[in-house]
Amino acid sequence: MSEFIMLSRRDFLKTGALVGGGLILGFYLPFADSDSCAAEQTKGFAPNAFIRVDHDGGITFIVNKSEMGQGVYTSLPMLIAEELECDWRKVTVEASPVAAVYDHTVFGSMVTGGSTSVWSEWERLSKAGATAREMLIAAAAKTWRVEPASCHADNSRVIHASGKALAYGELVDKAAKMPIPKDVQLKNPDTYKIVGTPRHRLDSPAKVNGTAQFGLDTRLPGMLTAVVARSPVFGGKVVSYKADRAKAVPGVKQVVQVPSGVAVVAKSFWGAKKGREALDISWDEGEWAKLSTPDMHRDYAGLAKTPGLIARKAGDPEQAYALATHKISAEYHVPYLAHAAMEPLNCTVDLRGDGCDIWTGSQMQTGDRNAAARIAGLKPEQVKIHTTFLGGGFGRRANPHSDFVIEAVEVAKVVRKPVKVVWTREDDMRGGYYRPIWSDRLTAGLDGNGNLIAWWHTIVGQSIIAGTPFEAAMIKNGIDGASVEGAQDIPYAIPHLLVDLHSPQIGVPVLWWRSVGHSHTAFVVESFLDEAAHVTGKDPYEFRRVLLVEKPRHRGVLELAAQKAGWGSTLPAGRGRGIAVHESFGSFIAQVAEVSVTPEGVVRVHRVVCAIDCGRTVNPDTIAAQMQSGIAFGLSAALHGAITLKNGRVEQSNFHDYPLLRMNEMPQVEVHIVPSKEKPGGVGEPGVPPIAPAVANAVFALTGARLRTLPMTPETVLKAMKG
């Protein structure tokens, strides 16, 4: 038995011991061997799957969301701890297994994505904490033979009106026997002590001392390592291969064909990689072997001139446009983008006749588990997913097609030993599931007073949702909501508008990439709106303010960002300022960027002022961190990011040709959070969309050059400056 399984076993035993001897408001669920039936037992009354209180007062929260940097191993515990009234310093976190009780409260399976974790778990986790608190209070009241109402909980103790107190650790046995209250009173948010205050992340110490366990750090006794040679063209298949030379490489154990290619299995990573280099494979490259991205942009631009499926129509845009005194029109293009999380993809599988254990950083555990079961010929409940830390996710590890999990199970099926499939950076970069290429055509009409009266936005790009289990819920009348989000719900008061969509089918796999559709719609809408402002000679900030008169939260962040950035004040020579505002994932964000452009056409971003209204906050420090992070992520794309294809082959391979933002390019980011009692929104993604248009608008303000194509490479900038 592997040491990792031993570990789980030990936890199971510990947990099992606690079943009789401690308060486990998760019963035996987390580590029991029959997750699913335990889950059934708790269905409809879930709160107790999330908390464990030990005799020594240690508090464990079982978290059902994947920690990929967004701080969810801290923010969700804060929600529980607030109601549990426990000592925050005693809190530790465990990753939940896959079970129905841990399903996303809206999506109905285990998913971390869509910047939904805080708002979708707020009520459930608050109730989980409050339920535990009430049971601890009841236990103390019973001990003292007093009314529960004469007791309260604070800092892991129950305190009676007389002043006597019992620590949670002393109460666990009794509390476990208390009836579970049906209805619990949640705290008035105005009395919160933890939620809404900056807290240090619970995962930081392990990440700073190198002990945090990520997928790639998984080690099992007797484990082998595999790398897979995949088709150079998406959708290609192996025709034949010669493995003799690969097998002669020291350490190589096996060469096996799997549906995605040929896997070289070795004692160590290096042997597998060397073995792969020695493989000789002939491929049937399939129908996409001629694909090139410049052709795609050309075709897309042609499509954008034809009417698509209507996503939204208001008023009579054609007639309004006919009556307009100023008319403008422009085309925008953005490229494929790779997620390029710093931890390359990997997945470790221990497949046995009667079960399967998988260690990986997944954002979609239920889907991955079910896919693994299908491939392995097991029942879903025979497959256990051990969620590790994720060295970045950004959507790539939330794949409805479960690509990296399925492939690893395929390899394990042949190898029949614990095996870790490792993707090199090159594999990861060329592995597809990109942010789609988008081409947009926009037309606007303004009246004699400079009022925006007509707006026509045609979007062209692949659907992310088509062909996934989400299709039924998220594609309506042929419109993939993720393709038009941020465009069809444009916040500006424009009386006549039309947003339509073309969804060409291309063999390059696409996926949600941090902020999904907003990653392109914010750039296009906020840039073109700037163009409209300039046609009328109006200040782009004032132009927006007027059009947002009925959108107080948009306007609130717009005004706050402008004010903090000193909008309108004189900048040093050679500096320009641009603004953008965008709503996504329930949060409202405005950013003001200050830029300069070198004579060589290099755009430098010096300062970004970011105002966010994400409703009620949990951990303000995490919100600030996520804004800094989103801005850096968005800048990597705006300034550098592009995956291009030639003859069906991805041209980029590593960070020299797919550069990420570096330390010397990081602007000073100032984050201002709007105090709010509104429903909480997300923070992981919404920081990304506004930065590209804020920078492009700043470049325009400085140089008069309008950047309508991303990334803003020196060549595109110089070309735009020459007009």
């Binding site: 940097g69 160590s268 931890e343 970045g392 961190a625 590593n654 570096r662 980011v669």
Partner: protein, 154 residues
């Protein structure tokens, strides 16, 4: 057999001489705090100290590491001012790049106890962070420099 001195301990490992030090640390020595990001000297996730200098362990064939003093994140004292500053400034997000960042920052501060922003950028420019923690890294390096400075005066 290749002899390695890592974090003050001597190891004998049987690996081909051209295997990068990174993989020997991670696989044979089980020191998985050192991370793999690119394998090409482009990201700094694999940064360790070789005789006190920050080096990319993915670019060092293990045979060339013989006879040198290697320090990994695990070998840096838990109360090291840089580690402490990383916690104070709450730098980490996903955390994957951070051991490499910390090793690079530690080497920088050894050479230059009071770096300016520009000197920090120069020293850290090859350590990528996809989560964009750069601003906090900069601040943490200043914090560590101050703390170490205080310690020195005692």
């Amino acid at each position: 057999m290749i002899a390695l001195s890592v974090n003050g301990k001597l190891y004998q490992v049987e690996v081909p001489p051209d295997v990068p030090l990174l993989w020997v640390l991670r696989e044979q020595l089980k020191l998985t705090g050192t991370k793999f990001g690119c394998g090409a000297g482009l990201c700094g996730a694999c940064t360790v100290h070789v005789d006190g200098k920050a080096e990319r362990s993915c670019q060092i064939p293990v045979k060339d590491a013989q006879g040198k003093k290697i320090t990994t994140i695990e070998g840096l004292a838990g109360n090291h001012p840089v580690k402490k500053a990383w916690l104070t400034e709450e730098v980490s997000q996903c955390g994957w790049c951070q051991p490499g960042q910390i090793m690079a920052a530690t080497a920088l501060l050894k050479e230059n106890p009071r770096p300016t922003d520009g000197e920090i950028d120069n020293a850290m420019v090859d350590n990528l962070c996809r989560c964009g923690t750069y601003q906090r890294i900069r601040r943490a390096i200043h914090t560590a420099a101050q703390e170490a400075g205080k310690g020195g005066k005692k």
